[in-house]
Protein backbone atom coordinates (compact mmCIF):
# COMPACT_ATOMS: atom_id res chain seq x y z
CA UNK A 1 0.00 0.00 0.00
CA UNK A 2 2.87 2.33 0.88
CA UNK A 3 4.48 1.64 -2.48
CA UNK A 4 1.23 2.45 -4.30
CA UNK A 5 0.89 5.66 -2.30
CA UNK A 6 4.49 6.61 -3.01
CA UNK A 7 3.97 5.87 -6.72
CA UNK A 8 0.86 8.05 -6.78
CA UNK A 9 2.66 10.78 -4.87
CA UNK A 10 5.55 10.71 -7.33
CA UNK A 11 3.25 11.20 -10.31
CA UNK A 12 1.27 13.88 -8.51
CA UNK A 13 4.48 15.77 -7.72
CA UNK A 14 5.71 15.20 -11.25
CA UNK A 15 2.60 16.37 -13.08
CA UNK A 16 1.12 18.91 -10.70
CA UNK A 17 4.30 19.86 -8.81
CA UNK A 18 3.97 23.07 -6.86
CA UNK A 19 1.80 24.70 -9.51
CA UNK A 20 -1.33 22.97 -10.80
CA UNK A 21 -1.92 25.80 -13.27
CA UNK A 22 0.84 24.58 -15.61
CA UNK A 23 -0.81 21.16 -16.00
CA UNK A 24 -4.19 22.80 -16.56
CA UNK A 25 -2.66 25.22 -19.10
CA UNK A 26 -1.06 22.40 -21.11
CA UNK A 27 -4.14 20.15 -21.05
CA UNK A 28 -6.43 23.06 -22.02
CA UNK A 29 -4.20 24.15 -24.91
CA UNK A 30 -3.89 20.60 -26.27
CA UNK A 31 -7.64 20.04 -25.87
CA UNK A 32 -8.27 23.17 -27.93
CA UNK A 33 -5.85 21.98 -30.63
CA UNK A 34 -7.71 18.65 -30.66
CA UNK A 35 -11.05 20.43 -31.11
CA UNK A 36 -9.61 22.44 -33.99
CA UNK A 37 -8.23 19.28 -35.58
CA UNK A 38 -11.46 17.33 -35.29
CA UNK A 39 -14.03 20.04 -36.00
CA UNK A 40 -12.32 22.25 -38.58
CA UNK A 41 -10.40 21.70 -41.78
CA UNK A 42 -7.33 23.73 -40.84
CA UNK A 43 -4.18 22.39 -42.50
CA UNK A 44 -1.42 20.70 -40.47
CA UNK A 45 1.12 23.51 -40.67
CA UNK A 46 -1.28 26.20 -39.52
CA UNK A 47 -2.66 23.92 -36.82
CA UNK A 48 0.84 23.15 -35.49
CA UNK A 49 1.77 26.84 -35.29
CA UNK A 50 -1.59 27.64 -33.72
CA UNK A 51 -0.96 24.86 -31.18
CA UNK A 52 2.39 26.40 -30.28
CA UNK A 53 0.81 29.83 -29.88
CA UNK A 54 -1.99 28.41 -27.70
CA UNK A 55 0.55 26.70 -25.42
CA UNK A 56 2.51 29.95 -25.05
CA UNK A 57 -0.69 31.87 -24.27
CA UNK A 58 -1.79 29.28 -21.69
CA UNK A 59 1.65 29.51 -20.04
CA UNK A 60 1.50 33.32 -20.03
CA UNK A 61 -1.94 33.23 -18.39
CA UNK A 62 -0.73 30.85 -15.66
CA UNK A 63 2.25 33.16 -15.00
CA UNK A 64 -0.04 36.19 -14.90
CA UNK A 65 -2.28 34.47 -12.32
CA UNK A 66 0.79 33.60 -10.25
CA UNK A 67 2.14 37.11 -10.19
CA UNK A 68 -1.02 39.21 -10.09
CA UNK A 69 -1.07 41.77 -7.30
CA UNK A 70 -3.02 40.49 -4.30
CA UNK A 71 -5.50 42.82 -2.64
CA UNK A 72 -4.90 43.38 1.03
CA UNK A 73 -7.91 42.66 3.24
Amino acid sequence: MNAVKAFGRFWYDFIIGDDWKIAVAVVSALALVTVLLVWTSIGDHVLAVLGGVLIVCAFAISLAIDTRPRRSK
Binding site: F10, F14, I15, G17, D18, D19, I22, A23, A25, V26, V27, L30, V33, T34, L37, V38, D44, H45, L47, A48, V49, G51, G52, I55, V56, F59, A60, S62, L63, D66, T67, P69
Partner: protein
Protein backbone atom coordinates in the same frame (compact mmCIF):
# COMPACT_ATOMS: atom_id res chain seq x y z
CA UNK B 1 26.54 13.45 -36.01
CA UNK B 2 23.48 15.51 -37.04
CA UNK B 3 22.26 18.68 -35.32
CA UNK B 4 19.22 16.79 -33.98
CA UNK B 5 21.48 14.15 -32.40
CA UNK B 6 23.65 16.82 -30.82
CA UNK B 7 20.52 18.52 -29.53
CA UNK B 8 19.33 15.24 -28.02
CA UNK B 9 22.74 14.63 -26.41
CA UNK B 10 22.99 18.14 -24.96
CA UNK B 11 19.39 18.14 -23.70
CA UNK B 12 19.65 14.80 -21.89
CA UNK B 13 23.10 15.66 -20.53
CA UNK B 14 22.00 19.03 -19.11
CA UNK B 15 18.71 17.74 -17.68
CA UNK B 16 20.37 14.74 -16.03
CA UNK B 17 23.26 16.88 -14.81
CA UNK B 18 20.88 19.11 -12.83
CA UNK B 19 19.01 16.15 -11.32
CA UNK B 20 22.27 14.39 -10.41
CA UNK B 21 23.62 17.48 -8.63
CA UNK B 22 20.55 17.41 -6.39
CA UNK B 23 20.94 13.67 -5.71
CA UNK B 24 24.67 14.11 -5.01
CA UNK B 25 23.93 16.79 -2.39
CA UNK B 26 21.73 14.37 -0.45
CA UNK B 27 24.19 11.45 -0.66
CA UNK B 28 27.12 13.67 0.36
CA UNK B 29 25.19 15.02 3.35
CA UNK B 30 24.53 11.46 4.54
CA UNK B 31 28.07 10.29 3.81
CA UNK B 32 29.89 13.16 5.54
CA UNK B 33 27.54 13.23 8.53
CA UNK B 34 26.70 9.57 9.14
CA UNK B 35 27.98 6.68 7.04
CA UNK B 36 29.50 6.57 3.56
CA UNK B 37 29.00 2.79 3.38
CA UNK B 38 25.26 3.09 4.05
CA UNK B 39 24.88 6.12 1.74
CA UNK B 40 26.56 4.21 -1.09
CA UNK B 41 24.45 1.12 -0.35
CA UNK B 42 21.30 3.25 -0.62
CA UNK B 43 22.58 4.77 -3.86
CA UNK B 44 23.36 1.33 -5.31
CA UNK B 45 19.92 -0.01 -4.36
CA UNK B 46 18.28 3.01 -6.00
CA UNK B 47 20.28 2.49 -9.20
CA UNK B 48 19.16 -1.17 -9.35
CA UNK B 49 15.51 -0.16 -8.74
CA UNK B 50 15.80 2.49 -11.47
CA UNK B 51 17.21 -0.06 -13.93
CA UNK B 52 14.22 -2.36 -13.28
CA UNK B 53 11.70 0.48 -13.64
CA UNK B 54 13.38 1.67 -16.87
CA UNK B 55 13.26 -1.80 -18.42
CA UNK B 56 9.56 -2.30 -17.64
CA UNK B 57 8.49 1.26 -18.48
CA UNK B 58 10.46 1.23 -21.76
CA UNK B 59 8.97 -2.12 -22.77
CA UNK B 60 5.42 -1.13 -21.83
CA UNK B 61 5.58 2.21 -23.64
CA UNK B 62 7.09 0.85 -26.86
CA UNK B 63 4.83 -2.22 -26.96
CA UNK B 64 1.45 -0.71 -26.15
CA UNK B 65 1.34 2.81 -27.52
CA UNK B 66 1.08 3.82 -31.20
CA UNK B 67 3.51 6.53 -32.35
CA UNK B 68 1.15 9.50 -32.19
CA UNK B 69 -0.16 8.46 -28.75
CA UNK B 70 3.44 8.22 -27.59
CA UNK B 71 4.09 11.73 -28.88
CA UNK B 72 0.95 13.11 -27.24
CA UNK B 73 1.35 11.47 -23.81
CA UNK B 74 5.10 11.81 -23.54
CA UNK B 75 5.22 15.19 -25.26
CA UNK B 76 2.46 16.45 -22.96
CA UNK B 77 4.24 15.24 -19.83
CA UNK B 78 7.53 16.67 -21.07
CA UNK B 79 5.82 19.98 -21.78
CA UNK B 80 4.32 20.14 -18.27
CA UNK B 81 7.67 19.21 -16.76
CA UNK B 82 9.56 21.73 -18.91
CA UNK B 83 7.12 24.57 -18.29
CA UNK B 84 7.37 23.97 -14.53
CA UNK B 85 11.14 24.46 -14.80
CA UNK B 86 10.73 27.45 -17.09
CA UNK B 87 8.16 29.01 -14.76
CA UNK B 88 10.58 28.72 -11.83
CA UNK B 89 13.42 30.12 -13.96
CA UNK B 90 11.33 33.09 -15.09
CA UNK B 91 10.16 33.83 -11.54
CA UNK B 92 13.71 33.49 -10.18
CA UNK B 93 15.28 35.65 -12.87
CA UNK B 94 12.66 38.34 -12.35
CA UNK B 95 13.25 38.33 -8.59
CA UNK B 96 9.87 36.90 -7.65
CA UNK B 97 11.13 33.59 -6.31
CA UNK B 98 14.16 32.70 -4.21
CA UNK B 99 17.11 31.07 -5.97
CA UNK B 100 17.68 27.33 -5.62
CA UNK B 101 20.44 27.09 -3.02
CA UNK B 102 22.35 23.80 -2.90
CA UNK B 103 24.26 24.92 0.22
CA UNK B 104 21.01 25.48 2.09
CA UNK B 105 19.64 22.10 1.02
CA UNK B 106 22.90 20.49 2.17
CA UNK B 107 22.67 22.22 5.57
CA UNK B 108 19.05 21.03 5.99
CA UNK B 109 20.02 17.45 5.16
CA UNK B 110 22.98 17.56 7.57
CA UNK B 111 20.73 18.90 10.32
CA UNK B 112 18.26 16.07 9.74
CA UNK B 113 21.08 13.50 9.72
CA UNK B 114 22.48 14.78 13.02
CA UNK B 115 19.03 14.81 14.62
CA UNK B 116 18.51 11.16 13.66
CA UNK B 117 20.73 9.92 16.53
CA UNK B 118 23.95 7.90 16.73
CA UNK B 119 25.30 5.76 13.93
CA UNK B 120 25.58 2.06 14.83
CA UNK B 121 28.28 -0.33 13.66
CA UNK B 122 26.11 -2.07 11.03
CA UNK B 123 24.16 -0.61 8.15
CA UNK B 124 22.86 2.83 9.07
CA UNK B 125 19.24 2.67 7.93
CA UNK B 126 18.75 6.44 8.06
CA UNK B 127 21.58 7.11 5.59
CA UNK B 128 20.50 4.16 3.46
CA UNK B 129 16.86 5.23 3.15
CA UNK B 130 17.52 8.95 2.66
CA UNK B 131 20.15 8.22 -0.01
CA UNK B 132 17.89 5.64 -1.66
CA UNK B 133 14.94 8.05 -1.79
CA UNK B 134 17.03 10.97 -3.00
CA UNK B 135 18.72 9.04 -5.81
CA UNK B 136 15.55 7.14 -6.78
CA UNK B 137 13.30 10.20 -7.00
CA UNK B 138 15.82 12.38 -8.84
CA UNK B 139 16.75 9.33 -10.94
CA UNK B 140 13.11 8.77 -11.94
CA UNK B 141 13.10 12.19 -13.53
CA UNK B 142 16.30 11.28 -15.37
CA UNK B 143 14.71 8.00 -16.53
CA UNK B 144 11.66 9.89 -17.73
CA UNK B 145 13.76 12.36 -19.68
CA UNK B 146 15.92 9.62 -21.22
CA UNK B 147 12.92 7.49 -22.23
CA UNK B 148 10.90 10.40 -23.61
CA UNK B 149 13.72 12.04 -25.51
CA UNK B 150 15.17 8.72 -26.65
CA UNK B 151 11.91 7.22 -27.92
CA UNK B 152 10.55 10.35 -29.54
CA UNK B 153 13.84 11.07 -31.29
CA UNK B 154 14.08 7.35 -32.09
CA UNK B 155 17.56 7.28 -30.59
CA UNK B 156 17.56 5.86 -27.05
CA UNK B 157 21.32 5.03 -27.07
CA UNK B 158 22.29 8.71 -27.55
CA UNK B 159 19.91 9.76 -24.75
CA UNK B 160 21.47 7.11 -22.49
CA UNK B 161 24.99 8.30 -23.37
CA UNK B 162 24.00 11.90 -22.51
CA UNK B 163 22.58 10.83 -19.14
CA UNK B 164 25.49 8.51 -18.33
CA UNK B 165 27.99 11.25 -19.18
CA UNK B 166 26.17 13.59 -16.80
CA UNK B 167 26.37 11.02 -13.98
CA UNK B 168 30.12 10.52 -14.58
CA UNK B 169 30.80 14.28 -14.64
CA UNK B 170 28.75 15.01 -11.49
CA UNK B 171 30.32 12.11 -9.56
CA UNK B 172 33.81 13.24 -10.67
CA UNK B 173 33.17 16.85 -9.60
CA UNK B 174 31.68 15.70 -6.27
CA UNK B 175 34.67 13.42 -5.68
CA UNK B 176 37.15 16.19 -6.49
CA UNK B 177 35.36 18.95 -4.59
CA UNK B 178 34.31 16.88 -1.54
CA UNK B 179 31.70 19.49 -0.67
CA UNK B 180 28.19 20.53 -1.82
CA UNK B 181 28.14 21.34 -5.52
CA UNK B 182 26.91 24.89 -5.04
CA UNK B 183 29.54 26.21 -7.46
CA UNK B 184 27.51 24.75 -10.32
CA UNK B 185 25.19 27.39 -11.84
CA UNK B 186 22.14 25.23 -11.27
CA UNK B 187 19.58 27.99 -11.75
CA UNK B 188 21.04 28.88 -15.14
CA UNK B 189 21.17 25.21 -16.15
CA UNK B 190 17.55 24.72 -15.12
CA UNK B 191 16.58 27.72 -17.21
CA UNK B 192 18.31 26.26 -20.27
CA UNK B 193 16.87 22.81 -19.70
CA UNK B 194 13.40 24.29 -19.14
CA UNK B 195 13.59 25.93 -22.58
CA UNK B 196 14.73 22.67 -24.20
CA UNK B 197 12.04 20.57 -22.50
CA UNK B 198 9.33 23.13 -23.29
CA UNK B 199 10.43 23.25 -26.95
CA UNK B 200 10.61 19.48 -27.45
CA UNK B 201 7.39 19.06 -25.43
CA UNK B 202 5.54 21.62 -27.60
CA UNK B 203 6.79 19.95 -30.77
CA UNK B 204 5.87 16.39 -29.81
CA UNK B 205 2.60 17.05 -28.00
CA UNK B 206 1.16 19.05 -30.93
CA UNK B 207 2.34 16.32 -33.33
CA UNK B 208 0.66 13.74 -31.09
CA UNK B 209 -2.76 15.39 -31.28
CA UNK B 210 -2.96 13.62 -34.66
CA UNK B 211 -4.01 10.48 -32.74
CA UNK B 212 -7.55 11.89 -32.75
CA UNK B 213 -8.01 11.96 -36.52
CA UNK B 214 -8.79 9.16 -38.91
CA UNK B 215 -5.59 7.35 -39.73
CA UNK B 216 -3.95 8.58 -36.51
CA UNK B 217 -1.27 10.44 -38.45
CA UNK B 218 0.87 12.88 -36.47
CA UNK B 219 0.31 16.60 -37.12
CA UNK B 220 3.15 17.90 -39.30
CA UNK B 221 5.08 21.05 -38.31
CA UNK B 222 6.19 23.36 -41.11
CA UNK B 223 9.82 22.56 -41.89
CA UNK B 224 9.60 19.34 -39.85
CA UNK B 225 12.59 19.11 -37.46
CA UNK B 226 13.69 22.68 -38.28
CA UNK B 227 10.59 23.82 -36.40
CA UNK B 228 12.32 22.60 -33.23
CA UNK B 229 15.04 25.21 -33.61
CA UNK B 230 12.39 27.88 -34.16
CA UNK B 231 10.57 26.71 -31.02
CA UNK B 232 13.77 26.84 -28.94
CA UNK B 233 14.42 30.41 -30.14
CA UNK B 234 10.78 31.37 -29.56
CA UNK B 235 10.66 29.98 -25.99
CA UNK B 236 13.96 31.72 -25.20
CA UNK B 237 12.78 35.10 -26.52
CA UNK B 238 9.39 34.78 -24.83
CA UNK B 239 11.00 33.86 -21.53
CA UNK B 240 13.16 37.01 -21.76
CA UNK B 241 10.03 39.07 -22.41
CA UNK B 242 8.26 37.45 -19.42
CA UNK B 243 11.31 38.14 -17.22
CA UNK B 244 11.52 41.78 -18.34
CA UNK B 245 7.80 42.34 -17.78
CA UNK B 246 7.72 40.61 -14.38
CA UNK B 247 10.86 42.40 -13.21
CA UNK B 248 9.09 45.73 -13.63
CA UNK B 249 6.34 44.71 -11.25
CA UNK B 250 8.61 42.95 -8.74
CA UNK B 251 9.37 44.54 -5.34
CA UNK B 252 12.66 46.55 -5.73
CA UNK B 253 14.70 44.48 -3.27
CA UNK B 254 13.88 41.28 -5.06
CA UNK B 255 14.12 42.46 -8.64
CA UNK B 256 17.87 42.10 -8.92
CA UNK B 257 19.24 40.02 -6.11
CA UNK B 258 16.51 37.39 -5.85
CA UNK B 259 17.39 36.74 -2.24
CA UNK B 260 14.72 34.97 -0.21
CA UNK B 261 13.24 37.48 2.17
CA UNK B 262 9.61 36.59 2.62
CA UNK B 263 6.53 35.54 0.74
CA UNK B 264 7.33 34.87 -2.88
CA UNK B 265 5.38 32.99 -5.44
CA UNK B 266 5.38 29.38 -4.29
Amino acid sequence: MSAATWGLLVATFAACFVEMVEAATIVMAMGFTRSWRSAFAGTGAAVVALAIVTTFAGYAITSWLPDSALQLVIGGLLLIFGLQWLRKAVLRSSGRKSMHDEDEIYRDEVELARAAGDVGSGLDMFSFIVSFKGVFLEGMEVVFIVITFGLNADNVPVAVVGAAAAVVVVVSIAFAARKPLSMIPENLLKYGVGIMLASFGTFWSVEGVGIFRTGRESVAWPGNDIALLVLIAAWFLLSRVFIAVLRVGAPPARATAAVPTGEFVK
